[in-house]
């Protein structure tokens, strides 16, 4: 059996195609060169992924603000205000949170007006 000399070389450079393919799959819906050119796409992809992480907290903040607005609107329809409602509920030890209050204000107006 012929045994050749051991080739003490480093591994060849990995194929960039697959690394870039992972990026292009995520940027397929972008506009223009941002979806086709790697060095441009990668910037926008990093930004988008960072937004994904940040928006998880922002979504909760936005939702709370929205609920508060809706409860306030419902209260003003009935002649009082959000602050009055919250203070009254704290005194009576009713522990409904903003999400359910907003829900009730929209879908159960009779219950909400009894508050």
């Amino acid at each position: 059996m012929l045994i050749t000399r051991v080739v003490c070389n480093r591994a060849t450079k990995p194929d960039n195609f697959w690394k870039r393919r992972r990026v292009f799959k995520l940027t397929a819906h972008y506009y223009g060169r941002k979806r086709n050119c790697y060095s441009i796409a990668i910037k926008y992809l990093h930004r988008a992924l960072a937004y994904v992480r940040k928006s998880r907290q922002l979504k909760k903040r936005d939702a709370i603000e929205l609920w508060q607005q809706r409860i306030s609107a419902g209260c003003r329809e009935l002649g009082s205000s959000y602050e009055v409602l919250v203070r009254g509920m704290a005194r009576c030890q009713i522990a409904l949170d903003k999400k359910t209050l907003a829900n009730l204000a929209i879908w159960e107006p009779r219950t909400f007006s009894s508050h």
Binding site: L49, V86, C92
Partner: protein, 233 residues
């Protein structure tokens, strides 16, 4: 101060554990009917005094009083009659109306607000709810929701302060599915510093089907020893 109290009550609710030996706090039940009857928890005299105070001076924390304003305005005085007996009569009437509806089962579809896995949900029969939490129940188990904050129907609502009695309300749910969510990415990048990290995570969730939301007793019938119903000793 009121906002702090409110948040305190909310935070205590998520840590609330119902123990059989201690009796529950006295749950005053607020019932309403579609007419103008709204029950006040405090006596009407206190409300009247508060109204007079607010009418006399809008007292905000940062307000500065003008000495001349204070001395020149005469405090308004109104004589209010004691309407305590009237209030009690109205209370009894509404409770009777609610009880008659419960006895004849003519209240129709009931909805409840449940505190489950750290969140409050509004729930009726046949609802599917998703809970992002891991819990020991298996698929097909029937769970009973113990922290019921509110029960409502077409004509009346029962508000718990903060919870309703377990021998009054019953909310049952079956576990339909227990699995992991889709893969979520957490990508951290420091721009121009050549540091970035990719993290993937999936958390447990389960889907519950609400079997029933129902009333199991009359509104003013309270047991002699509270907090013991349905417990195994």
């Amino acid at each position: 101060m009121a906002a702090l109290m409110f948040r305190n009550v909310l935070s205590k609710l998520s840590q609330l554990q119902i123990s059989p030996i201690k009796s529950l706090r006295t749950n005053g039940i607020n019932c309403t009917s579609p007419a103008t009857y709204v029950l006040q928890a405090q006596a009407i005299e206190k409300c009247a005094i508060r109204m007079l105070r607010s009418a006399a001076s809008n007292n905000f924390e940062g307000a500065k009083f003008n000495a001349s304003q204070q001395t020149s305005v005469q405090p308004q005085q109104e004589v209010l009659e004691n309407q305590h007996d009237l209030e009690i009569a109205i209370t009894k009437e509404t409770i009777e109306k609610v009880n008659s509806q419960i006895k004849s089962n003519s209240h129709g579809r009931l909805f409840a607000v449940i505190h489950f896995a750290g969140k409050q949900r509004r729930v009726t029969d046949g609802d599917l709810i998703m809970i992002e939490a891991a819990h020991p129940a298996n698929v097909g188990d029937v769970i009973r929701a113990e922290k019921v904050l509110l029960l409502g129907s077409r004509d009346f609502t029962l508000l718990g302060r903060p919870l309703l009695r377990p021998d009054l309300v019953r909310v049952e749910a079956t576990v339909v599915e227990k699995s992991l969510t889709h893969t979520k990415t957490v990508f951290r990048n420091r721009r121009r510093k050549n540091t970035r990290s990719f993290n993937f995570f999936r958390n447990h969730f389960s889907i519950l089907r609400i079997n029933c939301v129902r009333l199991e007793g009359l509104v003013d019938q309270r047991p002699e020893i509270e907090g013991v119903h349905g417990r195994i000793f």
